[in-house]
């Protein structure tokens, strides 16, 4: 092999410089965040409900958020108008890619449960569920002796009222978290650092179905986050009724949901709207308020042929589809 290399020494030497530059362009990551249009996904692909088997499907939309893109990606962001270049949000600076991915999966699972619960509640079907707090993100600087993502927090310094316990926890000191993980309980010490009085954690209140009268199944996917909640709830509701709420139209949208059916705001609405338009979506549900204003601006600026529906709750979305201009 060495003989092979030495015989081709001249050409290899000529190639090595552009080769190294090329690899550098494709691998060296710079400090920025890119948000690019993504795709739409039929909710029926990952939430199965054993009920009416209504034909129509609702679609969630995801966008691609690239933290610390490569030089090549950053250059593409400069020339492609559809790619937005941002600073990395402060909250994401000290998060590894793995933690961000797993954190988004925790949010997605919680969203599935909230969507299912809220849809069943809308049909006055009783569903038993519990709410609790889990560790969603652990920042690189967090000092702890064994906390893991998804750990369910039972007490902090023996206090069950977690909000109060956090308020009372002194900065610059270690505090004891009692957590549940895979059926076992652990006591884990976590430092609340002096400099900014932070634990280096993001905690998330999630919900989990304990018992439901309708058989259902959630499927894992690589796309994470809670922003498909509203569409997931509409899909579940659609499966509970014989009527197809979509009326044969391509319906998509974005917005979180809680177990009571309240719709919460989401990020990257312009990119989601562009994605929806590129996929011929006809109706686009969007959380009322600033998200709706962003969507309206984008629609007008780019002259997108798409109908926007601003909602604050699942019931408003259902009212629109069942009564208003719905099918």
């Amino acid at each position: 092999m060495l003989e092979f290399i030495s015989r081709h020494r001249r050409i290899l030497l000529v190639l090595v410089v552009p080769y190294v530059i090329l690899i550098g362009l494709f691998t060296y990551r710079v400090d920025a965040r890119l948000v690019a249009p993504g795709n739409i996904q039929p909710i029926g692909g990952f939430i199965e409900v054993e009920a009416e088997e209504t034909e129509g499907d609702f679609h969630s939309i995801y966008v691609m958020g690239v933290n610390r893109p490569t030089i090549f990606q950053r250059l593409l962001g400069e020339v492609d108008e559809q790619i937005k270049i941002d600073e990395i949000p402060e909250a994401r600076r000290d998060l590894s890619d793995r933690v961000q991915f797993e954190g988004s999966q925790i949010a997605r699972r919680a969203s599935f449960h909230a969507a299912f619960i809220s849809a069943l509640k809308s049909e006055d079907i009783e569903v038993e569920y519990e709410r609790y707090v889990v560790v969603q993100l652990i920042y690189d600087y967090a000092e702890h002796d064994g906390l893991e993502l998804g750990d369910r927090i039972l007490t902090i310094n023996d206090k069950k009222d977690l909000g109060k316990a956090i308020d009372e926890a002194a900065c610059g000191e270690w505090h004891t978290f009692e957590v549940a993980r895979a059926g076992e309980r652990y006591e884990i010490d976590v430092l609340r650092r002096e400099s900014d009085c932070s634990f280096g954690l993001t905690l998330r209140r999630v919900q989990e179905i304990v018992d439901a009268p309708i058989p259902h199944r959630f499927t894992e996917s690589l796309v994470g986050g809670p922003s498909g909640g509203l569409m997931q709830a509409l899909h579940v509701y659609n499966q509970l009724t014989p009527l197809d709420l979509t009326g044969g139209r391509l319906v998509a949208g974005s917005g979180t949901i809680d177990p009571d059916g309240n719709v919460g705001s989401v990020g990257s609405i312009p990119e989601k709207l562009i994605t929806a338009h590129a996929n011929d979506v006809e109706l686009f549900f969007v959380p009322a308020g600033s998200n709706y204003e962003d969507a309206l601006n984008t629609k007008q600026t780019l002259d997108l042929q798409i109908e926007l529906i601003a909602v604050e709750s699942l019931s408003e979305a259902l009212d629109y589809l069942l009564e208003g201009d719905g099918p």
Partner: protein, 121 residues
């Protein structure tokens, strides 16, 4: 079949096991170095142009096939340096192995794509 058996026998006679192993490792190394920029290009584009996911996944599968074919191509070039007088039909064997390895890597690529691409569709 006779051609194949005869050439495999000659290969065993013409080269030491260590030469065959080094040629294989060298083939993998040079094929990886040759196709790495292409793989990286597709991965870079994949995160920004999900709308073209199927095309980009297809390009990655083709690149995997190219990787497989290049392993054979480089490995046999190295073998020729070890023994320029080899009686085995190195060109014929190289073409056969390139086609086989290319096909195997394409199949692996298709399996990987079928497993992961639907997550984004």
């Amino acid at each position: 079949m006779n051609w194949f058996k005869q050439n495999v026998k000659r290969m065993i006679e013409d080269f030491h096991a260590s030469q065959l192993l080094r040629a294989l490792l060298g083939g993998i190394l040079f094929a990886a170095l040759s196709t790495l920029p292409l793989f990286l290009l597709w991965v870079n584009l994949l995160f920004l142009y999900v709308h073209y996911l199927e095309w980009l996944a297809g390009a990655m599968v083709v690149t995997m096939g190219l990787f497989g074919a290049l392993i054979a191509s480089f490995a046999y070039r190295i073998l020729r340096y070890y023994n320029p007088e080899a009686r085995a039909d190195l060109n014929g064997l190289m073409r056969l192995e390139a086609a086989l390895l290319g096909a195997i890597f394409i199949l692996i690529g298709v399996a990987l794509a079928l497993r992961h691409v639907p997550d984004y569709l």
